[in-house]
């Protein structure tokens, strides 16, 4: 695909931003190219997060966390991408701003007390647990203790993936690495894991990155990739097992 990741440094010099963006809208809206939809989402993700930061500071949160605002902002962004008329004179940011802010306002205002207790961070954890329990619960596990051990090991891989992002890594390194050798060892494992994530099949890699690094729920990832939530769960489970296998063999 010519529009995704320019193939050469020289192309980066001559490609015009406005034409590139128009090309993405044209290929998504006219040709139904879902990949372009994802590129547009990534292109405007920071914009959605900027609005989320602002709304989180401004609005009473009613017990919601920042990550809940982020999820609602992502929902608004996806709706805006799907509904935007690329031939209109309106800029996408102007169009999307109302959708994103509206999504957060509606989401927070209409959520019940029960919903507020079930925050996005819990949904992320529940997504992961459900996905990994499918694998840990199969008949190949001799005892329930083995199943539990399997589940714990897979969840640990998820914790390690989260540490791959630099800011999270620094937090962990400051708090929990007791000595130089272990710190070095931890970094080696992290680097290896980072390499293995990059080698995952494209869709699995996308699910891992979006879930662990961008804090997107399986439901949102499913909407973005036009897959079912169940399929996202399967891809997540397969990726974690693959990564665990790679780390175990070291």
């Amino acid at each position: 695909m010519g529009h995704l990741g320019l193939k050469s440094e020289a192309l980066g010099v001559i490609v015009e931003h406005s034409r590139r963006e128009a090309s993405l809208w044209r290929q998504f809206k006219h040709n139904g190219d879902e990949t372009c939809r994802q590129v547009l989402f990534d292109q405007y993700r920071d914009f959605a997060l900027m609005l989320s930061n602002r709304e989180f500071r401004r609005r009473p949160s009613y017990g919601f966390e920042k990550i809940d605002f982020d999820q609602l902002a992502y929902c608004g962004l996806l709706q805006a991408i799907d509904r935007f008329d690329a031939l209109s004179n309106c800029s996408f940011k102007t169009f999307a701003r109302y959708r994103i802010v509206g999504s957060m306002a509606d989401g927070i205002a209409t959520s019940s007390e029960r919903a507020s207790a079930y925050t996005a961070s819990r949904r992320l954890e529940r997504d992961r647990l459900n996905s990994l329990m499918q694998g840990a619960d199969d008949e190949t596990m001799p005892t329930s203790l083995d199943s539990l051990r399997e589940l714990a090991a897979n969840l640990a891989i998820g914790v390690l993936i989260e540490s791959v992002t630099q800011d999270r890594l620094e937090a962990i390194a400051d708090a929990s690495i007791p000595n130089g050798y272990e710190s070095l060892r931890f970094n080696q494992v992290r680097t290896h894991l980072f390499d293995e994530i990059r080698r995952l099949p494209e869709t699995q890699r996308d699910v891992v990155n979006r879930h662990y690094l961008e804090d997107m729920t399986f439901t949102l990832i499913a909407q973005l990739l036009s897959l079912t939530k169940g399929r996202i769960s399967q891809l997540h489970s397969a990726a974690i097992k693959h990564l665990r296998g790679k780390l175990t063999r070291r």
């Binding site: 440094e9 490609v15 006219h30």
Partner: protein, 195 residues
């Protein structure tokens, strides 16, 4: 009624389009009602849209011009160039493929060879071919301006330096210059598409 606008009316049309007080799109739409199959009018419409930042419509109009006249070489070249500068290098290569049928020393064919080198980051070869194309092109001077702009844009890369602000792509002046040339090329090309 002829499918193609005659030279006299084409010249009158171009003069109208050069008048900033008139609505280019309305003028073109009116003429297109009479000559919907004239690829040069669609090419002009694409150029007009590109100039006003309506880039999706510009692509549609340029594509339609090439569809109507597959051997409208300059339109084909410009469509590919539009795709290339939109980040669609694969589509640009497909669009340009037919230009391989041009004579070996035709400037458009040489420009395409140069731009293929650019896509592969083969910058000295790109530079050489674009300069060769410029030396061969005597019928469309505005196109040489576009290619000289590319040469100036890749020079910092060839020298291993960051591009300066003034030479950065997409500056208002660069875009205006490139789009002006798209239209003015038609003045040179208006007779070459009739077959």
């Amino acid at each position: 009624m002829s499918d193609m606008i005659d030279d006299e009316n084409m010249q009158a049309l171009l003069e109208k389009l050069a008048d900033p007080a008139l609505d280019d799109e309305a003028i073109l739409n009116e003429v297109l009602l009479k000559y919907p199959e004239d690829p040069r009018l669609h090419f002009l419409k694409g150029s007009t849209f590109a100039g006003s930042g309506r880039l999706i419509e510009a692509h549609t109009a340029l594509s339609h011009a090439v569809k109507l006249a597959p051997d409208f070489h300059i339109a084909r070249f410009q469509l590919g160039f539009f795709q290339l500068t939109s980040g669609e290098s694969d589509n640009a290569l497909k669009t340009w493929a037919r230009l391989d049928g041009l004579p070996k020393d035709h400037y458009l064919r040489i420009f395409v060879i140069g731009l293929r080198h650019l896509i592969r980051d083969e910058l000295p070869e790109c530079d050489e071919m674009l300069k060769k194309g410029i030396s061969l092109n005597t019928e469309n001077p505005p196109l040489n301006t576009d290619m000289e702009l590319i040469i100036s844009q890749i020079r910092p890369l060839m020298e291993g330096k960051e591009s300066s602000e003034a030479g950065a792509p997409g500056s208002e002046a660069d875009i205006a210059e490139a789009e002006a040339s798209l239209t003015s090329i038609l003045l040179q090309q208006s007779n070459t598409t009739k077959h």
